[in-house]
Symmetry: C3
């Protein structure tokens, strides 16, 4: 049947996007819970359409020049390359900010820098996840500064800020994971009633952001899933996160539960997501100590944190634990890189056997991130993503010449 051609599939997605109420134009994309269900759907469907276009060798250059700026204040592989890929597929030139090479050290304020880099900039991606209580605030300050310059007529366009992971949320990860689950189960409708276990996992390192767990429990509860969170005592998420997850679950017909053991979380789960993060209070303490420049206190704190972690080495995703899941074969997810026992550490979040079994799936999971970022760019930088996609589809210009 002709409606199964890629063109018809993409056409159908465009029609779905057209039907959504979407107020993201010229807005920053910082926290998914600030966006309506329709808006999340717009990102998901746009990402999916772009992925189909790429796989079917269609150009997706919505821009013919202009900058996509990124500022990674923490290490990154997947997100860095996903942002670069998204920029390239949309026709934007990537410009990486190196804060040591610009005038920040010469007393330039956030407000000023934000405007100075934005004249030809369509999108500004920021990762700032190291300090509890600071990352999101920084992104908001940047966004507000751009807004200020734009309203004053100093900028030709409202450059939009995209959160590439902050202390609170990791929206490009949760959107990417949503796309992965949709593909894994066939549709987002199929997610209804499925159980996903978002659990802490042991790591020999410390200081990992809390934002992945927070992004998952707030996103998956939107789609009617039964989300179960589990972590040891002291590893609480930031205040307010449970409430958002519960509110989303109530609206979608799913549920959100907190349990205190990996076993309980894994039982009959369709999906498991074991991932380490730092204890909230220790991270708060750490932020203060780092800001005060107290090196000795910092070392002491890191020692305490690692000792604390070490109490929970049994929080490892093993084959035995996996047996508790639905049919013994839940889907395993991880944003990577994982701490894999006997691969890159002595004891970690997941056993070698489990990770190896699911390794390709984690690669599949990662792939969607670049399309999610591209979708955020299109939806925040154009009034109608549907119009953009329609035009690209009409052109049907090949990305590769033959």
């Amino acid at each position: 049947m002709t409606h199964h051609t890629p063109q018809h599939q993409i056409q159908a997605l465009i029609e779905q996007i057209e039907g959504l109420k979407n107020n993201m134009f010229e807005k920053d994309f910082l926290l998914t819970w600030e966006r309506t269900p329709d808006e999340i759907e717009a990102i998901r469907l746009t990402a999916y359409a772009l992925e189909l276009m790429y796989y079917n060798n269609l150009t997706t250059r919505a821009f013919d020049g202009g900058l996509a700026v990124c500022n990674f204040r923490d290490k990154s592989t997947r997100t860095r390359f996903s942002f670069a890929s998204a920029a390239s597929m949309l026709g934007l030139s990537l410009q990486d900010i190196d804060e040591t090479k610009i005038q920040v050290s010469h007393g330039e304020t956030v407000r000023e820098t934000a405007n100075m880099i934005s004249f030809l900039t369509e999108v500004y991606g920021i990762r700032d996840d190291l300090f509890i209580g600071e990352g999101h605030e920084y992104m908001k300050e940047v966004g507000d500064s751009i807004d200020d310059g734009y309203r004053a007529g100093c900028l030709p366009q409202r450059t939009t800020v995209i959160n590439l992971q902050c202390d609170r949320d990791h929206p490009t990860q949760s959107m990417c994971d949503l796309l992965h689950l949709q593909k894994t189960f066939g549709s987002v409708q199929a997610l209804r009633g499925k159980k996903i276990a978002m659990t802490w996992g042991y790591s020999p390192s410390y200081g990992k952001p809390l934002s992945v767990a927070q992004s998952i429990i707030t996103m998956m509860t939107r789609y009617g899933m039964h989300v179960v969170l589990a972590h040891p005592e002291g590893y609480d998420l930031m205040p307010g996160m449970h409430d958002i997850a519960k509110k989303h679950a109530a609206a979608s017909g799913g549920s959100f539960t907190f349990v205190t053991s990996m076993e309980e979380a894994f039982r009959d789960a369709d999906v498991v997501y074991p991932k380490s993060w730092a204890p909230f209070r220790i991270m708060q303490e750490r932020t203060k100590i780092v800001r005060a420049g107290e090196q000795k206190k910092l070392e002491a704190l890191e020692k305490t944190a690692l000792e604390e972690n070490a109490k929970f080495k049994n929080w490892e995703c093993t084959e035995q634990l996996m047996k508790l899941t639905r049919g013994g074969s839940a889907h395993y997810m991880h944003p990577l890189p994982a701490d894999i026992t006997d691969v890159n550490c002595k004891a970690g979040e997941v056993s070698k056997a489990v990770f190896e079994k699911y390794r390709y799936q984690t690669y599949h999971e990662a792939e969607h991130k670049l399309y999610a970022i591209a979708a955020m760019i299109i939806n925040t930088r154009f009034k109608s993503a549907a119009q953009v996609l329609k035009k690209l589809l009409d052109q049907s210009h090949p990305r590769r010449i033959v």
Copy 2:
């Protein structure tokens, strides 16, 4: 009337450019005073046309591939992003030179590096402003080396060097400022007879280049302005600068005067440009000391320089001083980042109240730089900028797809 459409405006600019005598093709753009009035006009008008095209969503990709290389030997925000933006809007790929990652440390000569990076390079932007008597010489050596390779048939094109700030001149800043003044006063004709005060300002840091002040007094005297320079004793500009300014003033019907106080400079000024720079002789001394690697002498010199600066804390642009200007409301200019009293320092070039009042104007001022750079690229890399603009206008290809 139809001639007020952007297309007609751009068309009118193209006709003006066509009427100018222009010998910049395959020449480096290093010092504005080496260029004729017609050539400066060609840059100004091309920049203006490109800005109109950008604002009217017209593609300005004059190239379909090729490199724009930059080498920042000093920190930069505005100029770095302006160069990247200019490259992107013209269709060139940016390649940033990191001298620690290339073979310079393996004994590669300037002559060799210049040729090795130029095979597919249309333009090579350099910032080298830290050492008096060295920056311009370095750019000339690079330009001569490329010329040498090009004449010998080793390069497919004469890559042109663009000065992104040297010890003598900061042409992308003065062209950008000219565009800002044109917009502020309605036309370049309206600049005739206006008074601009280029003055030193106090800064708690030291070692700032002299080239902004030099670029302004030599540029604005070309347009019939009354340019008044003021600085404390010991803060002289490089030799020869006053002569150039006077020559330009004589030719344009403007004037150039030197006075010794900020008050005198500000009186009845239409525009004020208070900006710190280092004392010339100390900078000369500093270059020798740095080259000799004499760390102790350097520290002593820096102490002396700061003490010297501190004598002139009253060189601050305050509301009271602003009252002396025409109608008490002269336009305030600064290339940013400014040292703002009580914002990023205890005492600086400008008071918080004055800066806040003019903050947006300084953003507007900064915006034009990218178009100035793009105009320099087009005029040095194409025989006829008018032909390039005409072709782009005829295509009328949108930069954003919808």
Copy 3:
């Protein structure tokens, strides 16, 4: 005659390429001796066609978006800019890997990183030439990892790895040098029977890779040249290299000989290629010491290596030695930067007089590298390079707008 127009020349090259048997699609380009004579010809002819297209202002954008990733684990000027230029001329966005900024330090494996950066990546260029026995192995591991992910359906395309210099081979250099010799002598056929002297040269530094010499003796023996290798005792190439050169010579009707003096090698040579490299055994030892982190041993070894080198200061390409070559005027080649006596060192590989005489030729030699890299990208990423070139030629879209 019309067949002398660039279009007809390019057309003729395309026809030649079409007649070749080529199995490089979706294969890594790591060692030239793994490729058949037809495949080497396909690279050479594609590079030549791309060069003609560039010089005749034809766009060569075979891609409309997508990434070209590079990872330079050692310094580079020519190869770095050649890779960037090749990416730009083909329409790919360059993304430079900085291993300190990605998650490698967080325990990410080679296998994982290779896949994570490849989702939108057409080509991955790697330089890893510092450690004997490691560079090629690393590239193979990356290639195998990508292959693994591609076969498992995790990647939309088989990103191909291009060797930008390893411990064994430097294929972009030898292809570039082949193109230079073809141009110098008029055709590859004219290389038959010509003598090329690949010799060691003295350098005051130490630790230079062996791969240039290895790449030259294995490449030029393919084209019927009489290749003579000369080096002091202790400066042997890696095992197996002579055999490959001999096999190639036997197949092409050329020859491969080893002699122990520069004089003997230079006698009646049509081309001389004096270039320093490190002693093989010392480099092997060095790799072990570096891996063990034995700083003191390393310093001792470096001292030994430099003392060893110093015994052979007479291995310098002088005017007197050049007199021994055919007609006293052999062509001089060097991949640059050279150690030039009295220019960037007291005693080096070549005298100032000889280098100055041939300086422009070394620039010409360097130019072809970017087209060689672009040809490797096209041949490994498209089933038919001929089809790509034909399409580009049919379009005849100008690279520069006027």
